[in-house]
Symmetry: C2
Subunit: 222 residues, 2 copies
């Protein structure tokens, strides 16, 4: 797959070694992140809203209630920025200044459009389910006409995008290497507790595999 | 502690039961979140950037290299939005439409200012260490003059802020309750792997308690 074209707005200037326009990397980060943060401007004020996304090729889908203010603004096609971030490790240096996190993030710039085709809307909602819990989309009721009327689905093409990745150990100054402070990394992991059945289940149903065995693919650590 | 004053920009209109201006709740979410996403506007385009924050009372601190574009823009005092989000549980409904996440998020609107006082800068950098790994700030080298010259520290007052929290089971339509699909919640947990010592440690140092026993306070689940 070809890289995304770097632009003046997505080129990584600082520490360019951490920046990338690699399409597979961008996709993998978007797929692993459960949520993203979408930024848009209203009356000169930026707003940053967390939301669930799903990806189909180079198309991102978002969904929200019809009455949702954010989605009404975004549906107008205003410039927006969708950022997804995964925190992989604490980076613990000898010097306070050099503390950091190992992370992977993606920034997508563009505009959203409202999806009006009922079939694409229904597919997008299934993709959101699949994004949260892979394997589940076959075991739910798909959206019906009432659902589709009450919901806004937005799509955003991934055209102008960049990834930023930090890996590796803390980078202390040479003068500090001999200080008596432990330095290193602490990997973070996403785990699960016991599934909690809905109180209104009307019959005994086993916890499905896609829930019992749920885990999030972890990107490489180095 | 008194609530934050709701404004036209921070009032939660949709599902107001999920919205809050409770100061303790806002603080607890900001403290638990390792990172936040900061939104700002440049040439009409919103950008959303992940960064580490630290809180001291109603003051948030951010830090970045002097050459960092984002921090140069923010230091000019442009309107910005700082959002921190914690994902607590997957919410798995019978209907695709009703899938969701239980989460806690905070949105702070305002402007940043550059911290120029060396003592406040040094304190802010320690707070960032303490935010990432409580207990560690006593076991690192504080910022020296060179560090302070190379780093921009920004502060942002929490004055206009709101929290949004979703808890509880999936909310399926009455007509769907009898469908043969398991529904419920899957709690997510933040765990740790084994600490990885920096390859340039010059002596044998034990992994300190604040690393070995690191865990993130978890907000309430219901």
């Amino acid at each position: 797959m070809a890289d995304y074209e770097p632009t003046k707005r997505t080129r990584v200037f600082r520490k360019p070694g951490r920046g990338s326009h690699d399409r597979e990397l961008v996709h993998s980060i978007l797929d692993e992140a459960l949520i993203c943060h979408v930024g848009f401007v209203q009356d000169g004020q930026p707003y940053v809203i967390p939301t669930i996304h799903a990806r189909n090729g180079d198309t991102l889908y978002l969904h929200g209630a019809n009455a949702n203010r954010t989605f009404r603004v975004l549906a107008d096609g205003v410039p927006c920025c969708l950022t997804a971030t995964l925190v992989d490790e604490l980076v613990l240096a000898r010097a306070a200044l050099h503390h950091s996190l190992n992370y992977r993030s993606v920034m997508v710039l563009g505009t959203a459009r409202e999806v009006t085709d009922p079939e694409e809307k229904e597919r997008a909602l299934r993709m959101v389910v699949e994004h949260i819990a892979p394997g589940r989309s076959e075991e739910v009721r798909g959206a019906n006409e009432t659902d589709l009327r009450s919901t806004k689905v937005l799509s955003m093409e991934i055209e102008e995008a960049s990834a930023k990745v930090r890996t590796g150990p803390p980078l202390d100054d040479d003068d500090d290497l001999d200080l008596p402070h432990w330095a290193g990394r602490l990997p973070l992991t996403l785990g699960t507790g016991d599934p909690v059945p809905a109180p209104d289940l009307t019959r005994e149903l086993p916890v499905p595999d896609h829930v019992a065995a749920w885990s999030r693919r972890n990107g490489p650590r180095t």
